[in-house]
């Protein structure tokens, strides 16, 4: 077991903090000896600005997490809830090791809507990221999928959560049993829409399985 650094980037109001809480819950329930710490941006987070969050996981023996924030170029996993925010905070990722999981959704900032600046196209951003991170880049249209199958964009985070859990289990926690059940238990902390969130989780979990 090694230290794991997880970085989250997104737009305020997308549910970044709840997703972070799910993941923290999952990791703690896997092994009670593990320690996880993190930090978020509050305040303008609710108001459509750009936000980010960090989580650091340490295995049982060394229990002290010295700092909840990440240094640059040090994330092992990078979860983007919006494509432009993913590109904006790439300085936290490491071109040699970071696994990027991102939603290919674009929310236009006010400067673009007002006509002051131009929006980079989705295809251009996606292609550049794929060139840069090769097979470690996982991009999926989570918002589109959620809207088509559940009728609301809010289930897109559960899909991303499923993808992330599958990838995490494949690379880090191969020895522990009942991992999927523990991941589903972590969803219960949100307390509502559990049926749809579970379905969305399964969708994301099976997404990579089918691909590989």
């Amino acid at each position: 077991m090694r230290n794991i650094n997880i970085y989250f980037a997104g737009v305020g109001g997308e549910g970044l903090m709840l997703l972070k809480e799910w993941i923290a819950n999952f990791i703690i329930n896997l092994d009670k000896a593990m320690r996880i710490e993190g930090c978020e941006k509050h305040g303008l987070a609710q108001r459509g600005g750009s936000t980010d969050a960090c989580s650091r996981v340490l295995p049982g023996n060394d229990k002290k997490v010295w700092s909840p924030t990440l240094p640059w170029y040090s994330a092992d996993y990078y979860i983007g809830l919006e494509l432009q925010e993913t590109v904006r905070n790439l300085k936290y990722s490491n071109p040699n090791k970071t696994i990027i999981i991102t939603d290919l959704n674009i929310l236009p900032p006010m400067l673009v809507l007002g006509g002051d600046e131009k929006l980079p196209t989705k295809l251009c951003l996606e292609k550049r990221l794929r060139d840069f991170y090769k097979e470690r880049f996982i991009g999926l249209e989570a918002t589109k999928l959620a809207k088509e199958s559940f009728g609301h964009h809010r289930y897109s985070n559960a899909i991303l959560y499923g993808v992330f859990i599958y990838k995490l289990i494949q690379t880090e926690f191969k020895t522990i049993n009942n991992k999927k059940e523990i991941a589903l238990d972590a969803i219960l902390i949100s307390g509502k829409d559990i049926e749809n969130n579970t379905k969305a989780f399964e969708m994301g979990y099976n997404y990579l399985q089918a691909k590989i």
Partner: protein, 331 residues
């Protein structure tokens, strides 16, 4: 033992080499990432969907622009709170943004002839805004106050303030009447309105145009609850359907309505997104209303009704004349 850290650093070659290796590693990462080469536009914070301050600032901007056409400049003094975001696009309206209660107090050092507009939230008013109102009344300063009463402390996460009628742990206490509080401070002109309705534009115009010698201080209370706190605190919130393209003109039938474009530019609502145009080439993006992000405050409909497009104007005239004709026919 070395005398200083620098000496230690120079003597211990392994520490130095470790440091240099790490630095080289970081610089390599930096070089590698700088090759990415795509810049994305900045993302400024905007008001939430259903926010009452959007209406307050939108109508105020309309009035200020109208006055500017006749050469009258009105300084807008902001305060700490969500409405302080008004200095960012699309409004770019609030001129000062310093400390709690500093909005009204700042105007005392400014030009005495002009009318000022100050925006104060309900929490800021009860914290340190009241004394500025009273000293403005006592010294006959010419200030128009807009009190953005959203029934909670919006910016820090919906804690109860001293007006809302609940204790800090959630228990009930007696509510406070904001209107009678302002009247008791000596303000003679107090008005109240819903900022997400188009009648609020006239009310805003009224407090600015009031006779300055008779009513030096005029107060308008924008009475609408914070949209995010409605569910959390169980507040009342009147809902109305959002704007849809009427489909009369060719653009409207496909959904590339000019009014939608105008709305997305001017009101700054997060429910408006850009999607691929059906009418033009795929590179061009057209604003669309994403209903899953909409809060159904109905403000976009109010703006469209206040400023209809050319086709709607002409149509309504024709319909009116047709109706008049019918009445004549009936007689």
């Amino acid at each position: 033992m070395p005398a200083s850290l620098g000496e230690y650093f120079h003597k211990k070659s392994d520490v130095r080499s470790k440091f240099e290796n790490r630095l080289a590693e970081l610089l390599a990462y930096q070089n590698n990432l700088s090759q990415f080469g795509i810049k994305v536009p900045d993302r400024t914070p905007i008001f939430c969907a259903g926010c009452p301050h959007r209406g307050t600032l939108y109508w105020l901007k309309k009035v200020v622009e109208e006055k500017l056409r006749y050469g009258v400049q009105i300084p807008i003094l902001g305060d700490i709170g969500c409405y302080g975001i008004g200095f960012m696009p699309p409004f770019r309206l609030v001129d000062t943004f310093i400390a709690m209660g500093q909005g009204g107090s700042l105007s005392f050092g400014m030009n005495e002839r002009d009318r000022f507009v100050t925006i104060v939230g309900d929490s800021t008013l009860i914290h340190s805004g009241m004394n500025a109102i009273r000293s403005a009344v006592a010294n006959k300063h010419k200030i128009a106050y807009i009190i953005a009463d959203n029934k909670t402390v919006g910016m820090t996460g919906h804690q109860p303030n001293l007006i809302t009628g609940s204790t800090i742990s959630g228990g009930e206490v007696e509510q406070m009447n904001l209107e009678s509080l302002v009247r008791s401070l000596g303000v003679r002109y107090v008005d109240k309105g819903d900022p997400l309705k188009r009648e609020f534009c006239n009310k805003t115009n009224n407090i600015i145009e009031r006779d300055m010698t008779e009513y030096p201080v005029a107060v308008l209370i924008a009475d609408r609850a914070c949209a995010l706190a409605v569910k959390k605190l169980g507040l009342e919130y009147e809902k109305a359907p959002p704007f849809h393209a009427c489909g009369i003109c060719a653009y409207g039938q496909i959904g590339n309505c000019h009014q939608l474009e105008n709305l997305s530019k001017t009101i700054g609502c997060p429910a408006f997104t850009l999607e691929e145009s059906l009418l033009f080439s795929k590179d061009k993006l057209e604003p669309q209303l994403d209903e899953s992000r909409c809060f159904e405050c109905g403000f976009c409909n109010e703006v469209v009704e206040a400023y209809p497009c050319g086709i709607q104007k002409r149509l309504s005239k024709k319909i009116k004349s047709a109706l008049d004709g019918l009445e004549v026919y009936k007689q």
